[in-house]
């Protein structure tokens, strides 16, 4: 980001390639719908572009980016009049919504048909368990797993104490474990 702030145009594309997936995934989970997530995703990077000159290199880029992303997502939900957390499948399984069944195969990482079926089922169970989490717990779990942020940074972004982040994470993992066990997947 410092390079981009200093005027190096190519640095922006590097930033974009590095953070597109984690940010969009977070927004997609948070907002529940691909079109909204895409709008907010673009807004976030537009803000990064606009704010490049005010960027202070002593701050890490990722927390800054995700803070903007979360704020924009919250605004978007407020504008829509609801904290919309979608029904399990639609909200938490964007690929399935797009009619793409390959997602679970990739998740399983195994092309063997039998394993594939199992992988697909595990994928569904995972998506279901994720979607069943309370939004606050899902948010911190997803931020921690996908953004590479520290617990302290997540606390700063979400505006809660670090201990709250830790407890939310622990509850989230325990609920996931219980939900998977219910589906027959003993972790």
């Amino acid at each position: 980001m410092s390079r981009y702030a200093a005027g190096e145009e190519a640095a922006f594309e590097i930033l974009l390639s590095r953070y597109t997936r984690p940010l969009y995934s977070f927004l997609r989970r948070y907002l529940g719908r691909a079109d909204r997530a895409e709008d907010v995703f673009q807004d976030v990077f537009y803000e990064v572009i606009r704010g490049r000159k005010s960027y202070r290199p002593r701050h890490r880029f990722a927390p800054w980016l995700f803070r903007i992303g979360r704020n924009r997502a919250v605004d978007r939900l407020r504008r829509n009049g609801l904290r919309e957390m979608e029904s399990l499948d639609r909200a938490a399984n964007p690929r399935e919504e797009d009619g793409d069944p390959r997602v679970t195969a990739i998740a399983a990482g195994d092309p063997d048909p039998e394993t594939l079926v199992q992988g697909r089922e595990l994928g569904k169970a995972l998506e279901g368990a994720l979607a069943a989490l309370p939004p606050d717990q899902r948010e911190v779990l997803w931020l921690k797993e996908k953004s590479g942020l520290s617990l302290a940074e997540i606390a700063e972004i979400t505006g809660v104490p670090e201990n709250t982040v830790k407890s939310r994470l622990r509850y989230a993992l325990e609920k996931m474990r219980a939900a998977l066990a219910e589906q027959g997947f003993e972790p």
Partner: protein, 391 residues
């Protein structure tokens, strides 16, 4: 450490954020407590599974829009900065040039106008006339031929100014030789090259030195708004000021407008015959440069429109049309062009839409090779496309 305390540390331990000594004490507890060990292992496994859930990704159009926006902003800020600098520097440059001019004129005694037009005061005359003897020896030692030098020095010496026509003829004749001797050297420099060391005082040498070309040009340009007659009428009153300069180039005021136009570039370049070309040549060159640059830009200009139409077609689900537009754009964009990833992404997406799996694979392969930015994305797509479920 008890189990409750250990559980409090699980999250930080799982994510590697526990202090080394705390991690050591937790490990010690885990060695002794199989229940905590199992619990931690389960959480670790869930964590691993969550990490495997694939990321969602935005459409290439969204990424392209962001990239396009970044470029626009970059361009805009560049042009804004350029404009600001021009706004600041232009008046500054003008002020410096004018200031320099005024200072130079006063130092060299070349600011005759106020004196010339002032009511005749006897004490002013000598001040203006004093530099008069100075040009004389200098002219004799100038690089001109003896004949030309003689002719040139003639009008300077006597008090009444020579008829304009005669002076112009002499100056025209005087003009070519220096150019022939030192082609490409500024006329003023030529005179300096040939000038023997003078025994004259400081004032004389300053007065006799021709001003640098830029100053002379600026003097002429500053005088340009005045009428030619106005300038000419001022000359006879102070002929002593002009000969050292005018011996080099025809006095602007004595030339017709076209001649002035032609004579102006001669100050810093060769001589009048050669100098006659520049304005037209410059205009022609400028025109040529513009047309050639326009011709050169033509493919550049059409590529963005192809990319835009490709994007629109893609959004509308017209994959064949989109593929065609992106293919054409790719022909115009050489490898390394910043818009190529955009075109490759679009083409691959269009090929996917047309169920052209091998084509899409190949295009994503190219994208992965050409653009580090999109390498991840392209490789993930290739992975997807080469998966067995696609069959």
């Amino acid at each position: 450490m008890n189990c409750r305390r250990a559980e409090d540390m699980f999250i930080e331990y799982l994510y590697g954020e526990l202090e080394p000594e705390q991690a050591a004490s937790l490990r010690a507890h885990l060695d002794e407590c199989p229940a905590c060990r199992t619990r931690l292992a389960e959480l670790a496994r869930v964590r691993q599974l969550v990490a495997q859930v694939p990321d969602a990704e935005p459409s290439p159009m969204a990424i392209n829009r962001v990239i396009a926006h970044a470029r626009e902003e970059q361009e805009r800020s560049r042009s804004i900065w350029g404009f600001r600098w021009v706004k600041v520097l232009a008046p500054l440059c003008v002020a410096v040039v004018i200031g320099g001019l005024v200072a130079y004129q006063f130092r060299a005694g070349l600011a005759p106008r106020p004196i010339v037009y002032a009511p005749a005061k006897e004490e002013q005359r000598p001040a203006v006339q004093e530099p008069l003897p100075a040009p004389e020896p200098e002219k004799k030692s100038s690089p001109l031929t003896a004949r030309d030098a003689g002719k040139l020095s003639a009008p300077a010496a006597p008090r009444p100014a020579p008829p304009r026509v005669a002076l112009r003829e002499k100056e025209e004749r005087a003009a070519p030789p220096p150019a022939a001797e030192h082609p490409g050297v500024f006329s003023a420099d030529q005179e300096r090259l040939k000038k023997p060391p003078t025994a004259e005082g400081e004032r004389v040498s300053i007065a006799s030195l021709p001003p640098p070309p830029t100053v002379e040009t600026a003097v002429r340009e500053a005088a340009a708004p005045q009428s030619a007659a106005d300038s000419a009428s001022s000359r006879p009153a102070s002929p002593e000021a002009s000969p050292p300069i005018r011996g080099e180039a025809p006095p602007a005021a004595l030339l017709s407008a076209p001649q002035r136009e032609l004579g102006r570039p001669a100050v810093g370049t060769a001589r009048a015959p050669v100098a006659a070309a520049p304005p037209q040549a410059k205009a022609a060159a400028r025109e040529e440069a513009m047309t050639s640059s326009a011709a050169g830009n033509k493919p550049e200009a059409s590529a963005p429109s192809l990319l835009n139409s490709g994007d629109r077609a893609l959004e509308a689900g017209r994959h064949a049309e989109a593929g065609e537009a992106f293919s054409q754009a790719l022909k115009l964009l050489l490898p390394g062009h910043p818009d190529r990833p955009h075109a490759l992404l679009g083409l691959a997406r269009a090929q996917e839409g047309q169920k052209d799996r091998s084509g899409a694979l190949q295009t994503y392969g190219e994208l992965a090779k050409e653009s580090p930015t999109y390498r991840d994305l392209a490789e993930a797509k290739m992975h997807e496309l080469s998966g067995p479920e696609v069959k």
